[in-house]
Symmetry: C2
């Protein structure tokens, strides 16, 4: 467009102002008031526009156009300020904005729930529509955005194809968890055939639900593009009230063709290292906040991980180490049982003192699609464990041999006809391939130190909660 009278073309972000090396004149800044200090001669306003953690100090004197209304405004008011950026005499900031003109765009009143004081995370969850204006959640969601970009950049730089796998699915045999049902049938009078609901009359002509994983479809794409990844929402209809489970979360699932379990581990290591490095390099201001307020030692933890050697140990070896450990575990340790969080943390923190791939788990405790090892009782699976958290990534080489895969599906009761398309990739042009899954929120909790998954999701969905 030839002309643009919009405010946006004139405003500059606080993030772009603060690193300035020299004074600037005729600036236009917009944001929300974080605090007001009223003095006789001068009023100070801390203004934030969400572009960074830091506020811009705005200095107002009585002769400023708009002073009268502004000096009455509340915390949280939206404001437009024009003026000069001048070196600040105050400690703790380099610059301040001397207002020439100021305008309240939208005021607040004393009912505004986000007054300047510490609020509990629990309270802030109840105002999830306003909490992005609080320091902690500003930092959390800037980090979420930055790491999302890092994920895409990592894979793009390495020639991976990004694939949008379907959200609505008719597959119910992946075994990864309980599914939400998706339907348009009238809920109070569904069509019946011989007393049972006739799903053929539903929108998709069969029973459908929300996906628990894009892996199976990801494998289809890997057998055409070699290296692919998914990054999208996944769902679990589990009535779980822990701080680590949500009904809706985002997952990253790369899938690589012509690859085995060692390749899979190498990719997972490179990926995690890259993301942590990205956070350290690009999110310094927000990380410093988390390091100070949320998890003391966070930055050291991340620096250590970024430089660490990643160890590898088979599940059988891990069981031996746990059985020899001078520790009373709450859960028993026995070959064939899944590792509990206490076991995982002992292995990564005490045994190797760093990130650890545990590989080659018993076939009976892993999913049907994992590749059977030559011993006939373990599969080429891996879990990546990190100190303080335990498992952060889980993956496997996939069973590429049609007869072995069909035998396994048969033994666990999955009907071949339901996954005929999946089997076709083993029928025609099959190849060794592998992949893994990383829960994005789990990563965010690790990188920010936030301890509740509800606090790293913009509008979390958990049992009883779908507000906003």
């Amino acid at each position: 467009m030839a002309t643009n009278h919009g405010l946006r073309s004139r405003r500059i972000r606080i993030k772009e102002i603060l690193p300035s090396s020299q004074p600037m004149s005729a600036l236009c800044v917009c944001g929300w008031v974080r605090s007001v200090r009223r003095g006789k001669e001068v009023t100070f306003i801390a203004l934030n526009d969400g572009s960074c953690m830091a506020n811009l100090q705005v200095v107002l004197t009585p002769e400023v156009d708009g002073f009268a209304t502004v000096s009455r405004c509340g915390t949280g008011a939206a404001m437009q300020v024009e003026g000069e950026l001048i070196a600040s005499p105050a400690a703790g900031q380099e610059w301040e904005l001397h207002a020439r003109q100021v305008k309240i765009l939208g005021d607040t009143d004393s009912d505004y729930p986000l007054q300047k004081k510490r609020h509990s995370f629990e309270f802030l969850r109840s105002i999830a529509h306003l909490r992005p204006r609080a320091n902690t959640f500003g930092a959390v969601f800037r980090m979420r955005s930055a790491l999302s970009f890092a994920i895409h950049r990592f894979f793009r730089e390495r020639g991976f194809l990004y694939v949008h796998t379907p959200i609505i699915t008719a597959n119910d045999c992946e075994g990864a968890g309980e599914m939400f049902r998706v339907s348009t049938l009238p809920a109070d009078r569904p069509p019946l055939t011989e007393g049972k609901i006739d799903w053929r009359q539903d929108f998709f002509g069969e029973k459908t639900g929300l996906t628990v994983s894009g892996q199976l479809q990801g494998e289809l794409f890997a057998t055409a593009f070699s290296d692919i990844y998914t990054f999208g929402p996944t769902f679990r209809a589990e009535n779980s009230h822990t701080s680590r489970h949500a009904a809706e979360f985002w997952m990253i699932e790369p899938e690589i063709a012509f690859a085995d379990l060692a390749d899979d581990c190498a990719l997972a290591e490179e990926f995690l290292r890259y993301l942590v490095r990205f956070a350290l390099d690009e999110c310094g201001e927000d990380l410093a906040f988390f390091n100070q307020r949320i998890e003391p030692g966070l930055i050291d933890k991340l620096e250590t991980l970024a430089r660490a050697d990643f160890s590898v140990m088979t599940y059988s070896e891990a069981i031996r180490r746990l059985q020899q450990a001078p520790v009373d575990f709450e859960y028993p340790v026995a070959w064939g049982a899944d590792l509990q969080s206490e076991h995982e943390r002992y292995l990564t923190e005490q045994v190797v003192g760093g990130p650890l791939f545990v590989t080659d788990y018993p076939a009976d405790i892993k999913a049907f699609y994992m590749r059977l090892n030559d011993d006939g009782r373990t599969v080429a699976a891996m879990d990546l464990l990190v100190p303080r958290v335990g498992e952060i990534i889980g993956g496997s080489q996939r069973e590429e041999r049609l007869d072995v895969l069909m035998g396994k599906m048969n033994s666990v009761g999955i009907e071949a006809q339901h996954l005929d398309w999946y089997l076709d990739t083993r029928r025609w042009g099959s190849c060794p391939h592998a992949g893994f899954g990383l829960g994005f929120e789990r990563l965010l909790m690790y990188v920010t130190g936030m301890e509740n998954i509800r606090d790293v999701i913009p509008f979390p969905r958990t049992p009883g909660h779908a507000r906003f």
Copy 2:
């Protein structure tokens, strides 16, 4: 990990080989056989690994290790080849790979549905798990991946925050379309209270469905971070069987604070121009294919758009122009009626001959959240129309005045208590803001020339279809 015996660390992608400026030795290439030509002295194999459109010509002579099995392999077989890259004497390619060793990783048989011949798009849809191995769909999904990245890069370069808005939602009043219901209640015996289904007993404690738009939640984030965007799946439970509608599709929705309709148009123009430029610059090989096989003139069309002036015209002016047009439209033209596709195309193709923003539509045909203009009968909405397609982007400035917004909601029958959180952003720290939505598949159809939305989605969901 210290050692890696995986195949992946040794293989090189065809995309990385073909631009080579010199011969290369000891290469390891993996891919799928696109065709085999058997001669007495030599066998030629066209190998594709999905990294690019072009195949690598593999040359096999009888003394090659593995020749006997390979010379019997079928189209679609997965293969690993080691050998030397040598200048090709044949026309049409610069390099060929002289095999030293070759191995079939997974063969095919004569039932393989993707034999070397032209297949209809309709047939290929029925084998959506295999169609990524066909040239057209290789190109489509590489383009989908590339443009996804371009979207993230565009916004990241401009300081926008990426927000994951929820998929499961309890909002049913956005008016953007019919919703899918999400539930875990037993479908055949839901709990009843006074004869009606008791949604309080459902997973989330209320009735929920799949989102039709992330805009409302996007607005919440824009009033904290100033500039945000969403990019995620959205849903319509409409029993629509056209080539332009799917039940599940991806949408991009930026939202900008301290901005008006002119700012919104400026951003939409910059965004569309950037994406088209990105496709031209980064996807040349695939675009050349679309230009030759799918839409002759495609590249010219895109070059023209990337350089075009974007015009602006109010809806009222557009109606006048249409009423004066020497054309018999199928649908009547009258102030107050929505523009039909034929009208949109006439305006963009005949009246201005280029991309056109139509602005300031009648309030009665637009959504409740659009900002009322001073005339009291139009709203600050915009649609971006482009030649050959019509509408490609739709947006508006949002109503930021609490009393006006509540009045509008009341008049269209939306209960304020259902959107109390949305209204809170107008109650506290409200500011002028605007945004728009771009259907990602609509963009892909425009950029590739593909005419059916089912052919730009990996596994499309439409009425009666949720397979794969």
